[in-house]
């Protein structure tokens, strides 16, 4: 009897166990919910599925991560100097950071965007904006190096940048601050009506990617916050959010938040091209730097440009229209079809979605509610695509998946909200940790977004990681968006401020990645292509050392005849022609940095010895089994000494 009771009890508990398990499954949206670790685990030796190019914000750089693992592969120096890679320190890259204000060692890098062909990511280049001293940089995805930087005249706070059109016809950059154009000495209080905001259209030569500032549209003195290109049917248009349409010049947090509506500026750039062709542009004097790095000479050159073509929308009908959008909109995002333009009014509780086809219809019927500085303002009700009601607080940025859904970040309520295009209903919301800014879906700014992952980038992390004093890391969070509900998979720290990102399927990019530079094509002015070509040449106080590096020695490695007061140029060529064999070069007392020289490349470090003595140099990249032996000496004699120049290896 007792046994019977026991076994009944056991059976009962088994039924309860399985029963509850079944219930649990339904509730937690499938067993998979607990398998987040498995979804982001990329086994040792295996490769990630996506590249994520995450801007470093105030670090000024661009970080390359793998998704879904969140592993950091490289930090590409762009706008800030980097002594590790000698970026801005060696003679070859100093011109890259030249501007009309001289050499600038830092900037604030914000919005990377990947080049496109026919509305889809082609993975050739990443463009990114420097916010502080307005510039656009181009990163070549065969070398993952910054190869071009162009400065923008008439701009200040280059924020609504750097977004590309469907065929990378243009990289577009809008100014955040309006300023006097041309700059002049005047009272700040005379801002209203006198300052201008420039929208810059930089063409990209299709084959080599060479950038050129084709024209600027001089807009009213609002602040231009973010932008996105039209695509598909809206190709040929570009949309910019504005705030401070009040044109306040002080205490903007109050004074620029007074208007119930600001605008999204819809710019017809095909029309702009027509006006340019018809000679309606005005050439105005300017002064801006155009810096280009040549892969064969391994050297950058900086050219100052003296003129820019400007278009005045108040005189050129059909060029710009204003779409009224509630409350200081931030994000300005166009869905994959090109029909919907989402304006994230960051002080509004609702998301406003404009319809492109309705906009065109309203323009055709000339249904305007008025004009601002002679630019027609359309009526909200005529262009309304839909409203996502009470979605959250502080909407910032929206991207799209491949299934007709949109995902918007809300800064104040710290969450990502998923909603449906066309029905405008909210389907899911997930908290972020904390205060999410932008988000990224690979291909999110294209006709073909991927529907797999979403990366949310957070400004604040507080208790999410081990504390590191007052400054703690910012973070990115990876969500699985393949199902109906979003699922948080991973939370990883980032460099600087992960302001914005662009993602792309790895197989588009990885096959083009260069393994080394061909030594045969090295056209550096001071290259030594073999040890036989190494030498030391004195020209007055300048001494040029044509040096080579190969496992595991420098040639020459003993140099005499250098004097205090000389300017010594170490031109080091890495003779290796093998994958992943860089050599470093470091010398005691260098006031700049090390060199990190890729196979087949030549880099130059300037060294100005101030003390008599025998000074060593060595390889700073662990290159081989005898890396520690890869070293040499320079003899520095007094300024008045008559020691002759001599150099040797193995004597």
């Amino acid at each position: 009897m007792k046994t019977l009771f026991k076994s009944t009890l056991t059976l009962l508990s088994i039924i309860i166990f399985f029963g509850s398990c079944g219930k649990g499954e339904k509730k937690s949206d499938g067993i998979l919910a607990s398998n987040a670790a498995e979804k982001v685990y990329v086994k040792p030796g295996e490769l990630d599925e996506y590249y994520a190019f995450v801007s470093g914000g105030f670090s000024g750089q661009l970080a390359v991560y793998g998704l879904p693992s969140g592993r950091l592969f490289k930090v590409i120096p762009v706008f800030s100097v980097d002594p590790e890679k000698a970026w801005g320190f060696n003679e070859e890259t100093k011109p890259m950071l030249n501007t009309s204000h001289g050499f600038i060692p830092w900037d604030d890098s914000h919005h990377p965007d990947i080049s496109q062909t026919a509305g889809e990511l082609d993975g050739r280049w990443v463009f990114i904006n420097g916010n502080n001293t307005p510039r656009i940089a181009k990163i070549d995805l065969t070398t993952f190096e910054t190869t071009e930087i162009i400065e923008l005249p008439n701009s200040a706070g280059n924020h609504s940048s750097s977004f590309v059109t469907e065929n990378t016809e243009y990289v577009v950059a809008g100014t955040r601050f309006s300023v006097p154009v041309p700059q002049k000495d005047m009272s700040i209080k005379e801002y209203k009506g006198n300052f201008k905001g420039a929208l810059s259209f930089i063409s990209v030569e299709p084959k080599h990617g060479k950038m050129n500032l084709e024209f600027q549209i001089l807009m009213p003195g609002f602040n231009y916050d973010l932008a996105h290109p039209g695509r598909g049917k809206s190709h040929g248009w570009f949309f910019f959010t504005t705030y401070n349409t009040e044109e306040a010049n002080s205490l903007l947090e109050v004074n620029a938040s007074q208007n119930d509506v600001d605008y999204i500026a819809a710019v017809n750039w095909k029309k702009a091209e027509e006006y340019v062709k018809a000679g309606k542009g005005k050439k105005m004097p300017a002064n801006y730097a155009h810096n280009v790095y040549d892969e064969n000479t391994h050297t950058a050159t900086s050219t100052m440009k003296k003129e820019v073509l400007v278009l005045d929308p108040s005189e050129l009908p059909g060029l710009v229209y204003f779409l009224p959008t509630p409350k200081s909109p931030h994000g300005c995002d166009v869905d994959p079809s090109g029909e919907y333009i989402v304006g994230s009014g960051k002080l509004s509780a609702n998301l406003t979605v404009h319809s492109f086809s309705k906009m065109i219809k309203a323009i055709e019927n000339k249904k305007f509610s008025g004009q601002a500085y002679n630019i027609p303002i359309l009526k909200s009700e005529d262009i309304l695509g839909g409203i996502v009601e009470q979605a959250g607080l502080g909407p910032l940025h929206t991207e799209f998946d491949d299934k007709g859904n949109a995902y918007t970040t809300f800064f104040i309520t710290s969450e990502v909200v998923k909603w449906k295009l066309k029905t405008w209903e909210v389907v899911d919301r997930k908290p972020t940790y904390y205060s999410v800014g932008h988000l990224m879906i690979p291909g999110g700014n294209s006709r073909k977004p991927s529907g797999k992952y979403l990366l949310a980038m957070n400004k604040i992390t507080k208790d999410r990681y081990l504390p590191t004093g007052p400054e703690v890391t910012q973070s990115a969070q990876l969500f699985d968006i393949s199902g109906e509900k979003m699922e948080l998979l991973l939370d990883f720290p980032t460099i600087g401020e992960p302001h914005y990102a662009a993602g792309i399927s790895a197989d588009i990019v990885m096959k083009n990645s260069k393994k080394y530079y061909d030594l045969k094509n090295n056209k550096h002015e001071f290259v030594a292509k073999s040890e036989a070509e190494t030498k030391v040449v004195r020209k007055g106080k300048d001494v040029h050392i044509y040096m080579t590096a190969i496992r595991s020695h420098f040639a020459p490695d003993n140099i005499e005849g250098i004097k205090v007061g000389d300017r010594v140029y170490f031109h080091v060529t890495n003779l290796e022609q093998d994958y992943d064999v860089p050599h470093g070069f470091a010398i005691i007392g260098a006031n700049n940095s090390e060199l990190l020289i890729m196979p087949g490349q030549t880099e130059t470090l300037v060294w100005e010895p101030k003390q008599v003595g025998i000074w060593p140099f060595y390889c700073s990249d662990f290159c081989s089994a005898l890396h520690q032996e890869m070293q040499g000496y320079v003899r520095v004699s007094p300024a008045n000494s008559d020691i002759k120049l001599s150099w040797s290896l193995g004597e």
Binding site: I550, R551, E576, Q577, D578, A625
Partner: protein, 193 residues
């Protein structure tokens, strides 16, 4: 023309493919070389299997005192001449059409092949044993000779030597000369019937 003659001539002409395809390949595998290093040995030259492979093999080998891969050797002058002579003789023999000469040509080619392999062995032996006494890494009793055929582990590398397309064509050419011999025999019988 008789079928045997055609076969003989084709067999002889196959020798000329040694100028189009490499004979032999030596590949060096190591964990840090996910794409292994390799050199292709031709009748008249040694080449990189992938760009810069020989340069990188030399770089590795200088630590253990090996010389650079000898790419200029007198064999590369003699072998092509021998092959051209043999191919011409083969064609000539084919045209003459004497079946015993077919057999002789085939046997001479086999002997030449064996001599060639022996020479290759000496080349490998010298390359693997003639070491710089000032080498950075010296391991007493360690030789670095790659295998003549098949795989062999040498320090951190796995060296693999295998024939390539050219060698296979050479073997087929020799076999064809024997087939031509038997075919000619058959054809002779038919005539007597």
């Amino acid at each position: 023309m008789k079928r045997s003659k055609i076969i003989m001539i084709i067999g002889a002409l196959m020798m000329l493919l040694l100028f189009v395809f490499p004979l032999y390949n030596i590949t060096l595998e190591a964990p840090q070389y996910p794409e292994p290093l390799g050199m292709d040995i031709w009748i008249n030259k040694v080449t990189d299997h992938n760009p810069n492979d020989i340069k990188n093999i030399n770089l590795m080998n200088h630590y253990i005192g090996m010389r650079d891969v000898p790419i200029k050797i007198k064999e590369f002058e003699i072998f092509p001449i021998v092959i051209i002579i043999m191919a011409s003789l083969g064609v000539l023999i084919g045209l003459i059409g004497r079946r015993k000469l077919y057999l002789t040509w085939g046997i001479v080619m086999i002997i030449l092949g064996i001599v060639g392999m022996y020479d290759f062995y000496l080349w490998l032996y010298d390359y693997g044993h003639n070491l710089n006494p000032h080498a950075a890494i010296k391991i007493p009793g360690q030789g670095y000779m790659p295998p003549l055929f098949g795989a062999k582990s040498i320090l951190n590398f796995n060296a693999i030597s295998l024939p390539m397309t050219g060698a296979y064509f050479m073997i087929i050419g020799i076999i064809l000369s024997f087939i031509a011999f038997f075919q000619a025999k058959k054809e002779a019988k038919k005539v007597y019937h």
